[in-house]
Subunit: 136 residues, 2 copies
């Protein structure tokens, strides 16, 4: 069980982080996610961290990388379920999650992805091009 499973709900992919991630598992997860988004045409990725007790800059970078990866496939990324203690630590240490969106829980995360998806539909350009032009 060294790979984090990727679940699918409609056109949203769900990753639930439950174990301490080592370098190799993070690389595997990024690779698996890129393949799954590409294969399914998913419109968004939700990363649940409700089981995560410590978010350091390593994990923060992983979120940012996943978000950038997803964006290349025209998918958005939302991190959900952050524990209050984790949020406090992040703020106290002055760490940011880059441009990664966060939401209280899975339900709200999925709602945010839907809104973002709706907004993008009908735009002249989509995907990376659109995001470069500041359209999203």
């Amino acid at each position: 069980m060294d790979r984090v499973p990727i679940l699918q709900i409609g056109d949203v992919l769900l990753v639930s982080i439950q174990v301490d991630l080592q370098d190799q598992s993070v690389l595997n997860l990024q690779e698996d996610l890129a393949e799954r988004i590409s294969a399914t045409g998913a419109s968004g990725v939700v990363i649940d961290i409700s089981a995560v007790e410590i978010v350091d800059s390593f994990i923060g970078r992983m979120f940012a990388t996943i978000a950038s990866l997803s964006q290349l496939f025209d998918a958005d990324t939302v991190v959900v379920g952050m524990r209050p203690a984790v949020a406090i630590t992040l703020v106290e240490l002055g760490l940011t999650l880059g441009n990664v969106r966060t939401a209280l829980d899975l339900d709200r995360g999925i709602k945010i992805l839907r809104v973002l998806h709706e907004r993008r539909r009908g735009l002249p350009g989509t995907g990376h091009a659109a995001s470069t032009l500041g359209l999203r």
Copy 2:
């Protein structure tokens, strides 16, 4: 991270098994699930085992216990994401998952829960009483 997180999608609870479960984690999970179903009034529980490589009688019993627990709160349980190798082993060893329903993936599992929930609505008795009477 010794507790398996329980996610919520609408009125369905989702448990993704990613680590080898020890006796204590199984007890914790059952306790947490009972509390969450009771608190949220969830109509169903999906257990994803796509990361699980070995299902033995211990895990099988856990599914059965969770299903019985859920039923007491008028919620159904579906196990999803079983790997082909796991299915083959179960059949070869003659192991059954008791009365626990299974589905190919999370999406189908949620659909099954919806159908079961719809069927139950409007029945004169619900919950354990209804199930005792063979109404579900």
